[in-house]
């Protein structure tokens, strides 16, 4: 029996529905026409290929999809959805597939990098983007242009804006929601989970497009440009 067909014969729809809690169920409409990949920005700079991924899912090669590096390269621009003649909401499928991948251990590294600092900032301050500017180059530029010390709180003051502080009651409310619905627990889990390495299943790093006019990915001055803020320390309210 052909290995590639085995999963399909075993009942694709059921398996995929299980993996995505039944949320993604219109992939059989795909004509494999390729309009999605044709205009996909991620496909132009890597081996990511939405049409191919749908094909693999339909043929039961689910493991190939959820263990791939490529799955994590989608831009969520919804361009594929915009051109699709069957109105398949592929970004939504990607989001669901990423949950499935996490379930198999893939992608925890990616998720860690979002949890710290963004999700943590949300829990601590109510906003996913901290007022702390970690990029030195930006901080310096803003300081020069706004004639302040570069802190965004100062820039706001200059304009006559109040400090943006989410009220304590509101913070209590969102923390309650987070605790009650398992978000807090998920944050803890993200801390602890070990990432199972992903592989380039649709191509290789050689497909990645390099930035023009740069000989390699490391640039002189890169280290001076960015200050590595220690990850996982949460929002730094003092400066």
């Amino acid at each position: 029996m052909n290995e590639g067909l085995k999963d399909w014969l075993a009942g694709f729809d059921k398996r995929f529905a299980e993996l995505t809690h039944g949320m993604v169920k219109d992939l059989e409409k795909c004509l494999q026409c390729g309009k999605c990949t044709a205009q996909c920005p991620a496909a132009k700079v890597s081996s990511y290929n939405p049409r191919q991924i749908i094909r693999d899912l339909r043929m039961g090669n689910v493991e190939k999809v959820i263990s791939s590096q490529e799955l994590w390269l989608c831009f969520f621009c919804s361009g594929c959805y915009a051109v699709c003649p069957r109105d398949i909401n592929f970004p939504f499928a990607v989001a669901m597939l990423r949950y499935a991948a996490l379930g198999k251990g893939h992608g925890w590294n990616e998720v860690k990098q979002i949890k710290d600092p963004y999700a943590q900032d949300y829990y601590n301050s109510g906003l996913s983007v901290s007022h702390v500017e970690r990029n030195v180059a930006i901080r310096e530029t803003v300081a020069e242009q706004s004639r302040t010390d570069g802190r965004i709180t100062e820039v706001r003051k200059r304009m006559g804006m109040p400090d943006r502080v989410v009220s304590e009651e509101a913070l209590a409310e969102i923390r309650f929601i987070s605790d009650a619905t398992g978000m807090t627990d998920l944050f803890d889990k993200i801390e602890k989970m070990k990432d199972v390495p992903k592989t380039w299943n649709y191509g290789s790093p050689a497909d990645l497009v390099k930035i023009k006019r740069g000989p390699n990915q490391k640039f002189a001055g890169l280290d001076e440009e960015e200050e590595a803020a220690p990850a996982g320390t949460g929002a730094e309210r003092s400066e």
């Binding site: 700079v45 979002i114 949300y122 109510g126 309650f176 398992g182 990645l208 023009k212 006019r213």
Partner: protein, 320 residues
């Protein structure tokens, strides 16, 4: 070409809730300050609340939080506006997407809405689904003629490129206010503000933020993508590029800056948000627009601005 059906659905009230975007608050606060000052000049009282938090959508689609957690958070934010009886104006493609999608999801599935409201009831709130969610571009477009009439600083001689971004037009391909591939609302608004829209080949390309790509795969995915956009944009040499989303703004602004910093490019196009454009045309003082926070300097842009036509800049127009 704008969609008349959607335009007909947009109702401008004399008080509307301004939904403040996170990237706006702490990176480009000018986006928020400009709409707070622009709206009164159009007869709308902008209402804000510090109880409002991040919309929650970003966390969902980056898989750090499941929809079961973020849907109540979104519903809570909408409930705040509902309690005041106000429709919501978002100024970010992401906020618009998440608030709209999640509320539609709940409205179409009463059992889900019930569960969400059970959680909300424990914090003394309720999501009813009585209010509308709009994007600032929809509201401004509806008020296009009013903007043109009340523009005390028409931006004559200023050339603007546009960047609509992806989520709003693509994600709502049938319901958004304009067509996904050949939109004109921003160009029309630029004209209403007195400016001249300028074309460039990569106009409808994604900014390259890619939700997380700029965080996770900046060097290998995000930068190579947007470099092409910047090349095309700079060739057209507008005075600024207008965006309708703070995430796009951050990307176009900071990545041009980064590539310049590395001395591999000499990009020159500064980036402003639609709110700032409209505020400028309506005569809001430049100091209130937060240009200092923009990495790509707006100094030359500000020098080129035409003077206010009428005196007494901060003329508050009576409501209505």
């Amino acid at each position: 070409m704008p969609r008349q059906e959607r335009l007909d659905q947009v109702k401008v009230s004399d008080r509307m809730f301004m939904f403040k975007p996170c990237v706006g608050e702490n990176k480009y606060p000018g986006i928020i300050n400009s709409i707070m000052h622009a709206m009164p000049r159009l007869g709308v009282e902008p209402v804000e609340s510090d109880e409002q938090t991040c919309c929650g959508g970003f966390l969902t689609f980056t898989n750090v939080a499941e929809p079961t957690s973020t849907m109540p958070a979104v519903a809570r934010n909408v409930a705040i506006a509902e309690e005041m009886g106000l429709d919501i104006v978002t100024m970010c493609n992401g906020c618009y997407t998440f608030l709209t999608e999640f509320t539609h999801f709940m409205d179409q599935r009463p059992p889900v809405k019930k569960v969400v409201n059970t959680i909300l009831s424990m914090i003394g709130r309720e999501y009813k689904g009585t209010q509308q969610v709009y994007h600032a571009v929809e509201v401004f477009y509806k008020l296009k003629d009013r903007i043109a009439e009340r523009a005390v600083r028409p931006l004559d001689g200023m050339k603007f490129a546009t960047h609509y971004g992806c989520h709003y037009l693509n994600g709502f391909k049938n319901e958004a206010i304009d067509d996904a591939f050949m939109p004109t609302v921003l160009e029309e608004l630029i004209t209403a503000c007195g400016g001249t829209p300028v074309e460039y080949e990569a106009q409808r390309e994604c900014c390259g933020t890619g939700l997380t790509q700029v965080i996770l795969h900046k060097e290998e995915i995000s930068l190579p993508h947007c470099q092409r956009k910047f090349d095309s944009l700079n060739e057209a040499a507008p005075d600024a590029v207008v965006v309708q989303c703070p995430y796009c703004l951050a990307q176009l602004d900071r990545m041009q800056h980064k590539l310049n910093w590395r001395k591999i490019t000499d990009y020159k196009v500064p980036v402003i948000h639609l709110n700032q454009l409209v505020a400028l045309a309506l005569g809001v003082e430049v100091e209130k627009l937060g240009f200092g926070a923009h990495a790509m300097s707006l100094d030359r842009f500000v020098e080129k601005l035409p003077p206010l036509e009428k005196t007494a800049g901060a003329r508050e127009v009576p409501v209505g």
